[in-house]
Every structure is written in C-alpha cells, then in structure tokens.
Symmetry: C2
Amino acid sequence: MGNVGQTDLHDLNEPIINHSEGQLFLSEAFKIIVEEVLCKGTDVNEKVCQWKEPEELAALLDLELRETGEPQHQLLQRIKDVAKYSIKTSHPRFFNQQFGGVDYHSLAGRFLSETLNTNLFTYEVAPVFILMESEVLRGLRLLVGWTHGDGLFCPGGSTSNMYAMNLARYQLFPEVKSQGLWGLPRLAIFTSPESHYSVKKGAAFLGIGTDNVILVKVDDGGRMIPEDLDEKIKQAKSQGAVPFLVSCTSGTTVQGAFDPLDHIADVCEKHKLWMHVDAAWGGSVLFSKQHRHLMKGVDRANSVAWNPHKMLVAGLQCSVLLLRDTTNLLKQCHSANATYLFQQDKFYDVNLDVGDKSVQCSRKVDCLKLWLMWKAVGSSGLAERVDKAFVNVRYLTEKMKKREGFQILREPEFVNLCFWYIPPMNCLDHTPVIKERMMKQGSMMVGYQPLGNKVNFFRVVVFSPLLSTKDLDFFLNEIERLGNDM
Amino acid sequence: MGNVGQTDLHDLNEPIINHSEGQLFLSEAFKIIVEEVLCKGTDVNEKVCQWKEPEELAALLDLELRETGEPQHQLLQRIKDVAKYSIKTSHPRFFNQQFGGVDYHSLAGRFLSETLNTNLFTYEVAPVFILMESEVLRGLRLLVGWTHGDGLFCPGGSTSNMYAMNLARYQLFPEVKSQGLWGLPRLAIFTSPESHYSVKKGAAFLGIGTDNVILVKVDDGGRMIPEDLDEKIKQAKSQGAVPFLVSCTSGTTVQGAFDPLDHIADVCEKHKLWMHVDAAWGGSVLFSKQHRHLMKGVDRANSVAWNPHKMLVAGLQCSVLLLRDTTNLLKQCHSANATYLFQQDKFYDVNLDVGDKSVQCSRKVDCLKLWLMWKAVGSSGLAERVDKAFVNVRYLTEKMKKREGFQILREPEFVNLCFWYIPPMNCLDHTPVIKERMMKQGSMMVGYQPLGNKVNFFRVVVFSPLLSTKDLDFFLNEIERLGNDM
C-alpha cells in the first residue's frame, strides 16, 4: 500500500483535485460516449454486442485495480473499451429485455442528476427534487385515478413490491414494526404463477416465507382467475392463515398479461385485503387513451408499482410506488425519527423531509430524468410511444403468422410477443442454439424461456421509440437466417 | 388526454426520436451542466444554496406536467433552473453531509453508465460490468483482509445492512426462506445506540421488529463496550431469545466512532453470532496505512457494508456489501431461479449471472464509477484522500480550541467534528438559529443534531478532496459571523 510517492506530490493543505484538468477529461469522455454509445451504438450497421468469452474479455479489459494511477489518455481508452464490449441496449435491434432504447431528454436529466449528486431525504439538501418528486408522483397518481395519495421513487420494482407488502402488513398489524412477526398469525399473500419472482423474493426477505405466497390459477392468457382467488383465500383462512395482500400483475414478465383488476378488486373488497398492482412493466399503458382499459379498476387498488425505466425509456433506475393512502401510512410504517436528519426544530415545514418514509437512508434522485422527458414530449408524447409499441407488435404478429416456421404462443395482449421458430430441418429445442448464434454474431438480441409445460420460446418485446418497421422486418429475417441451416 | 395532434405528426412506422436533434440537445445540456454545476457550483465566490421557501421555489420551477411538450430552448432553461436552485454539494463549503465533493473520473464513469443503461443481472446483458463488479468487490475485500468471499453492490448502506441481517438469519435457520419467521424462536440483534438507524429500520422491514434490536452501551467516545455486549447477549438468551447478529459500526454517523472490532469478534466467536460491520461511513480508512488500525479485527467479521459514495467521493449511489462467505450463501438465500433470466441451458457459465444473488431484479451499474476513479488515482491516491481528511479535521480541531466561543464535544476519532458555538451574547440553543441564517444566506452548509442529553451541536464532516485550509478558516470565521450578533 506504500503511497509515499503520491502523497509527497501534494500539499495536503491544498485541494487534491484540479477542476480544469477534470473538466477537460470529462469533455473528452463526453465525446467518446456520444460517438461510441450514442452514434455507433444505435447504428444498425454496427453490432448489438461484441461477444467475448469471459476469460478473453477480462484479459482485454485489464480490470485489476492497482496501487498507482494511470495517465488520462489511458483512462480515455478504457472508456472506449468499456463502451466497445458493452451491450448496446439503445440499438434498435436490442429486443432482449424490458428496458432499452434511449431518450435524450431523460439522458440529459440523468447527467444533471449525477452531477448535482444529492440525496432525496430532506428539503434542506434537495429542495428542487423534493418538490419535483412530489409533482411527478402526483402526475402518475392522476393517471391511476387518484387525486390524492402518497408514494416514493424506489431503486426498482422489487423494492416497490416489498414496500407494498410491508405497508399492507403494518396497516393490519401495526405492532409488527416493534414486535416482529412472532405475535402475529401466519400471513398469506396471493398472486399468480406468472407474476414476477420478486413477490416470492420479497416474502422471503420480509420474513413471511415463500410457502405463504399462494398461487392463484391463471386463464389461457396468463391472467389471474378471480374466482380461484376467492377460493384460495377461503381455503387459506380455513387453514388458519390470515390473508392480507393480493399482488396483481399488469403486464406479466413473459406473456405480458394483465390481470382483471376490476374483478380482483371485488374479491379484495369482499375479504378486506390490500390490493397491490405490480405494473412495473404494464403501467405505462395508463398514458394511452386507447389501451388504458387494460388496467380498468386500478383506481380501486391500494398500491401500484410502476417502472418508467421500462416502457417509457426513462433509463435505469426509475421505479415508483404509488399509494392511495392519505393517512401518512408510509411514514408511520418506516420512520425512525433520526435526529441527525429529521430534526423537528427546523425553520421550514419538516413534512417536506420525505426521507423517513423510506427504508433507505441515502436515496438517489430518480425523478428528474422522468420529469424532464415528460416536460419535453408531454403526456401526449408518452402516450404516442405506448400506442406506437402496440402498432409495432401488431405488425410483427401479422408478419409472423404469414411466415413458415414461426409459431406464436398466442395473440399478444401487450407488447410481448412469444413465439417458436421451427427451422425447416427441425431439431429439438433449437431456441438456445439460435440464441447462441445470435449473440456470437452480435446482430441482434432477444430473450427466451420455457413456461409451464411449454419448451423454450423466444419473447420479443417491442417498445422502443427508436424502432421502425424496417427493424421488425430485419428481426424476422434474422431469426430465419440464424435458424435455417440447422 | 387528447394526443391526436401529436400522433398525427409522426408516422408510427418510423422512429419517434431523432438522434441528431437529441445529441445536439445533450451537448447543449452538457455545456450548461459544466458551467452551472461544475464551474459556478464549486466556486467559493458563489453560494452553496439559493434558499427559497417551498411555495416560492415551486412557482419558480413550474413543475407541473402537461399534455403537450415544450421547445428545446425552454427545456435548456429548465436545466439551468434546476441547477440554480439545487444545493451545490460539490462546493468546498458544503460540509452538511457525509457525501459531497466531485471526482471527475467517477463522474465520467457515471455518464458512461447512464448512457450504456444496462442491468447487472446476467453476463449476457452486462458482460463488462459483471466482470468489473467482481473485480471491484475483490479489491475491496482484499482491503478488508479476505482473499476469497462474495459480495454485491446495493442501492445504499441501509440495503447492505438488511442483506447482512437476512443472510445471518438464513444461515442459522434456512427454513425461514420458505416458512417465514413463525416456526422460529424470537431472534435478537445487537448494536449500539449510536449505530445508524437503518439497523432498526431493517429489523422492522425483515419482520424481526425494533424491540428485538438490543442496544449495547457505549463508552465516552461512542464506541460499543464488548463486556456489555457479552452481558446483553446472555440476558437475551436467558429471556428466551436467540441472538444471531451483532451489527458493529465503523464510523458512527454523528460522532464518527469506531467500535472495537477485535474485541467484539471475540464475543461473537464465543456466542457463535454473525458479526456485521456497518462501515458505510468509515470503511474508507482501510485504504490508509496510517488509519486502518481503526478497523483492526474487521477481517474476523462475516460481512461489511461500505459506501464509497461517502468518503471516497464516488457519487451516489455506490454502496457494497462484502462477505467472507465462500459457500454461495448469498445466492442460496436470495435465489428464485426465474427461468426467463437465469436459464440453465445457456451457452456460457451461468455462475456469471449474479442477478439471483440479489433481492432486486433490475440492478443499476454502480461499479464503473468507482473502478474508473480507482484506475485513475490508484489505491495510493485514494489513501491520500483519506489521509488528507484526517489532516484537515486535525487542523480544524486545533483552530477551534484556540477560538473563543467554540467548544468541541470531544477529540474527533475520525473526520466528524462535533462542536457548539456559543456566541458572546449567549442565548439558549442558538444552533438552529445559526443554521437558519446560514441557509438563508447560502454561504455554507453544515448539519446539527442533539445526542443523548446533549443539546443541539454542529457536526462538520471534513473529507472532500477539494478542500483547502482556506475553506476551513472560512468555516470558522463564518460560524462566528453568523452567531456573533445574537
């Protein structure tokens, strides 16, 4: 660790960092980022990924952290290398995940958030963002149908879902906060087998246990069956459990199914259960007059999780938990009243200090990117993106139906399209083989998975505002090309 | 929501976003960010904050989100306004929190992470960052003293602390994952009253309850007393609880105290308890040959939480959980084996897909900024920053002792310096009044709080590599100036 050399270089009474050198470096880095990630990285003549085996990539990147620093030109080369070997998630042919694409207004907001580098716990240290977060949450809540309520930006949908569980549990048994689960009856959560895995992960983390997540049957389209929910609730009660939360899904991960919220709300009201809607993926349909019917009844829920970093292309991480509650449940449930942050003798309204509503202490500013993007294109512009995604997936579906070898699982309800491609020279479970070829050639990226008794199929998600029909035609041709010599 | 006008403008077959327009906007935004945040925002002739009452600020910012979008020049003005009214956390006179300052290499890494916009769950979608995260964790673990182990970047220290609790609980009672806490005896956590509030928040969130967080006495310096820990553990056992975790602190939030890890490790070994070290604030001393003795014994811990976004100026959010475990406990405890992400029939080593180690699904890339900064200045450069912070706080302490009106709580062990300022015209609890004047004039920022039976005092944290002794002299003069006409 001998740092004698370096220490001797600096007078410890003076700043160690030089602003003009630093700003010069940042400007050079910015140019590289624009060129490598935003220009080349979105160019259809360039690859989506440069596949390298892990050992080879590790050697290329020279990741090791050493005792002494490196010169600026070498660091700039490192930025180039990181960009070169990273996946181009903004590339029009990145269909692999429920995030991707780029929005330049959001990106500018993200650069500004990073540079301002503050923390969303007090008005004192984040005056602009405390007010802004509140306004963005209000805007999103209005789309849900709530003129009042509460909410928080969270570091992802899994966290939002866990918050909902914790709030539902606390509302029913406030003593859980101090006493834990020991004095409580066994609690039960209800969700569909096609819901996101974070429901089970959250139940385990919160001490509820995955066995107490009861799976409700789905129909052919992957939508929760409300009658079975009612049945399962009764069954759980008869076995001595206390049902407290139903986690519905708007836009399931694989099939893009929307649970019938209105009917589920009836069941929740009947049994007095907290209704949570995991709309991490599907929530953005609320912007579209044409498609918001998919979430009819969402205003009857108690909480909604929604990730604008997915369909709205706001950039990772951008996830909100929205609440209908107006009784300050979030703060009561999570507060610790730390006197070093949340002093009550401040000279401004301490209700603005939202930090104690969160389980986190440091909380990154995730609202600015969404706010700036929303300001830039308006609600109408965001609605247009949603509508366009539906148009695109419809186009792709119709084309697939007309092509040999493509077989869709079912008509898409959302912008997930699940299909098999069966090459002319049919072999068993060719999906992973096509995927491997795709990655190694780097021409595009799309995910696959099995589901229930269905063998591996591709799931293409079509939502990026950067897409044109040319990209969709390419997608079909490329699947054929990759599969056809099997 | 009528978006007819806007939709008509675009052919839905074509991309909605124009890259060259977008890149032009981003370049303009970049210039504003550099000018307003990095130049003016670090200039000692400019204010640290532009205090506005919430209502006035809301009106100035025009936060409302509307149906239609805005022209580019107006959006650029909005970026200026956001910058103008935000706190300048990189300003040398921002002493308010345990984050602040700016490192340009880290910032370049953050811009790159934001632009690459990927997700740390699979090698497929984040090849560079999967390898990089692993290497950064290895580097940090080596400083702890572990040649092997595990770990993860988390969205903050509170999350890292909760992970440690969940792992400790799972190791002792693996059935908790499926069955929840009901079949288990009452569990107990031990920590000091000066530990971070996230220990209690975490216990509540995980279903353990705040009453089961048992507070161990501290000495005059705020350090946990190992003998009292031993006593409290025995007491808890005798009352039927099962102690399972001790959460020690390296660098307490208010006083900056370091719990005596080596002695606590003896007690943990004796009782076979999981030893967690919350080194979110203090962990960075491990870089310094001169000061790492403060954490002597940390290698005997089971887990360490450490936030490089604090003292190392890596930028929010940058927090790690480090583990001594080599049995893949993290994955066993948290995995859900989702087939849409973690297929086992992939063409590469699926052990690289670390996403199932996390309770999160989407997980932001937080390693690149630290990696690039570390590459830039080396371990020796980071050590120098730590050493400089100690030199600065020593300077400030000595000066304070010589000035009338300043009274320190005690000799600082770390870079937190707690003090009262008693103006010549003494009045009761003037700290909040000085603070209000400071904020409204915007000349600098420093936090205050009470502690135990001690009335409100200032806590200045001195760690930014941008500081010079001039800034420290200014600090003393400014406290006097703000207080002297009371």
